[in-house]
């Protein structure tokens, strides 16, 4: 079950903003953002996807409750490359830091490009791997 539909109302997010974001989030990312989106899918989405029961999304949703900052990283428009680099390389709370053998400097630059691009260029929300594979199976 997707977070946006399940709890957007309950969290009293600014409905206009939330749904405006949803409306722009379909289809693939702009070609120049595909690498960064793939990095996001592999390294970030397992904890930060637009889905329920994820530590990253839940904790950021709680952290920013009452503000207009969304809990889903992929919906953020306030991130900068230095901030993204800091959290990837240093971690925070129970999020561990990521090594260069995991997220290379080139991957990190691509990730930063993706997470700082205009929302309309980012395409649909990145699914959890399990959901992506279940959809693939259903389509067979």
């Amino acid at each position: 079950m997707r977070l946006a539909f399940a709890v957007a109302g309950a969290l009293a997010l600014a409905a206009g903003g939330a749904f405006a974001q949803q409306a722009t989030r379909t289809g693939p990312a702009a070609p120049e953002l595909e690498h960064g989106k793939a990095v996001y899918a592999h390294w970030c989405a397992p904890c930060h996807a637009n889905s329920m029961g994820l530590a990253g999304t839940n904790s950021l949703t709680i952290k920013y409750e009452g503000t207009d900052i969304p809990g889903v990283l992929e919906d953020r428009t306030d991130l900068t490359a230095p901030v993204i680099t800091y959290f990837v390389r240093n971690g925070v709370a129970w999020m561990p830091p990521f090594r260069r053998t995991e997220v290379s400097d080139a991957d990190l630059a691509a990730l930063s490009a993706y997470l700082t691009a205009p929302l309309e260029d980012r395409g649909a929300h990145t699914p959890l791997l399990a959901d992506e594979m279940a959809e693939m199976e259903a389509a067979r």
Binding site: C47, L54, R89, R100, E102, L129
Partner: protein, 529 residues
């Protein structure tokens, strides 16, 4: 080692793997520290001096030869995600981390003979994706966090959540390739026979099988590992059985042992419905009282609350008709033997599961089973239970017997009361049935990066609990480097004959003591006091 010798070592490493894959700055080494360490920023924290990331087996061999020449300890990691058990941190200050993450090839998945062969840097996510994208009809068994490595997890004897022969990850391995401490390459089992096509089917080959030496050990660097895989089951079914009285657990465990050892059930979850009462201070005081409550007291509390004392969550994998017959058999077997027991049908559906079925919100009773893990689908959903800045873990192994459960509840409950921590052991603590043939319980206090007093208390508690458990014959199965000596010391039969034997072998095959000295409590001569 002085500065110029260290520089020469790094220079040689760069020559072997390239300029871009050797690190030693504080910034670069930060992610190699144990993010869940209870001794963070204290003199007890063990930090590596450098890291090197080879791209292939030949480079691993060259790195090992360089380390031998310079006599620098290497600490191999696979994906480096062993959180709660030390992360990527070594046993010796100043070690060089041998980071195998770049070696991330899924070499083979065979859906007719049901096995895979992978490199250490492959994660459970990677292996699952590889299988699904190709539509291969095999199921992996994964631990809670999917970013871990099948090789690394198995080598630390990690566990998963499906059938007994798969969820003991080391037990499910079949065939290894290892770079030995002198840089030579060795294969175990049928891999030792040139031309054999059964490396992932017969683990032993002929003669002594040394593969056990590489699990929680330091006799070489594993560069390939095979695993048995379950054919994708056709159907999944769950069912719950509850029993009314405290001592009904004894019979319940016997029945579940029978079902599991007969291959009829996947992983099962024991639980006490009385856990729901722990928010009531009177009940919490009863369940955690020193010396433990009496059976009569607990039965009275259960009766007053209208709750059962114990429940068992059963899972079945296989053809639809077989899962139905197995559930019917399990239910009848337990209900006919334990007065007052009741059974509830759970979910049942054809596999692979849909997205909605993976969410597991349709089961007609509360369950602790995480559906994705139960169906071999990696995720990071478990991270939701992590508190503060991480945790450490002590998981004592105990006999698969109800009386032993009661004894551990009481003994470790009493021992842990002096620490201001949640009640990991109480009269409602249920055993974990992770490993295929034994029970464990969990002691996993959180750590807080900015609270050294709390961390010091946790550190004391960990060592205390390991010692008290050992007095009763309960040993840890897996430990962070900072606890490996404490745990290894508890396996002390006949004057520590096991450790002496392992150290004699260590000295013989790794005379310079360069491969993960101290791992598993095995120290080479140059580091022994």
């Amino acid at each position: 080692m002085d500065e110029s010798a260290f520089a020469a070592f790094l220079n040689d490493l760069r020559g072997a793997v390239g300029e871009d894959w050797v690190w030693s700055s504080d910034t670069d080494m930060f992610p190699y520290r144990d993010a869940f360490s209870p001794v963070w920023n204290t003199p007890e924290e063990i930090q590596a001096s450098s890291a090197v990331a080879p791209a292939d087996v030949a480079q691993v061999q060259e790195v090992v030869r360089i380390a031998k020449r310079h006599r620098v300890p290497l600490h191999p990691i696979s994906t480096g995600k062993n959180f709660g058990y030390g992360g990527a941190s070594p046993n010796v200050q100043g070690s060089a981390v041998l980071d195998l993450k770049r070696m991330d090839r899924v070499i083979e998945v065979n859906e007719e003979r049901n096995y895979c062969l992978v490199e250490p840097g492959v994660s459970y996510f990677d292996l699952y994706r590889h299988i699904q994208e190709r539509g291969l009809k095999v199921m992996i068994d994964c631990p809670d966090p999917g970013w871990g490595s099948p090789v690394g997890n198995a080598l630390d004897r990690g566990v998963g959540y499906t059938m007994p022969q798969f969820r003991d990850h080391f037990g499910a391995h079949c065939g290894m390739e290892v770079v030995l401490p002198d840089g030579e390459l060795m294969r175990t089992g049928m891999g030792a026979m040139p031309g054999a096509d059964s490396w992932q089917e017969y683990p032993y080959g002929f003669g002594p099988d040394p593969s056990g030496l590489f699990a929680q050990g330091n006799f070489g660097v594993v560069t390939k590992m095979g695993f048995r895989l379950m054919p994708q089951p056709e159907y999944y079914r769950t069912g719950l059985v509850r029993v009314p009285r405290r001592r009904d657990l004894i019979k319940l465990v016997h029945h579940v042992n029978y079902l599991s050892d007969s291959g009829m059930v996947s992983e099962v979850r024991f639980a006490s419905p009385l856990s729901a009462l722990l928010g009531d201070p009177d009940f919490a005081a009863l369940a955690t009282k020193l010396g433990g409550p009496s059976d009569a007291e607990m039965d009275a509390a259960a009766s007053a609350a209208g709750l059962h004392s114990w429940a068992i969550d059963l899972q079945f994998l296989g053809p639809e008709a077989a899962t139905a017959a197995q559930w019917e058999y399990a239910r009848d077997r337990i209900l006919s033997d334990i007065p007052g027991a009741e059974a509830l049908d759970g979910d049942h559906f054809a596999l692979p599961a849909t997205e909605a079925q993976l969410e597991n919100d349709t089961q007609p009773y509360p369950t602790a089973i995480r559906r994705k893990g139960a169906l071999g689908i990696p995720s990071l959903g478990i991270w939701e239970i992590v508190r503060d800045d991480g945790h450490v873990g002590f998981f004592p192994v105990l006999p698969r017997d109800g009386e032993a459960v009661f004894e551990m509840q009481r003994v470790l409950g009493d021992a842990s009361r002096e620490y201001p921590l949640p009640p990991y052991f109480s009269a409602v603590t249920a055993p974990l049935f992770w490993h295929s043939n034994t029970f464990q319980m969990v002691f996993a206090p959180s750590i807080r990066r900015d609270d050294p007093e709390h961390n010091a208390m946790v550190h004391r508690a960990m060592k205390h609990m390991v010692a008290v458990a050992a007095e009763h014959g309960w040993g840890d199965y897996r430990a962070a480097p900072i606890y490996q000596d404490d745990v290894a010391a508890t396996y002390s039969f006949n004057g520590g004959a096991l450790r002496k034997f392992l150290e004699a072998m260590k000295d013989a095959v790794d005379p310079d003591g360069i491969i993960a000295p101290g791992r598993g409590g095995v120290w080479p001569a140059r580091f022994r006091p």
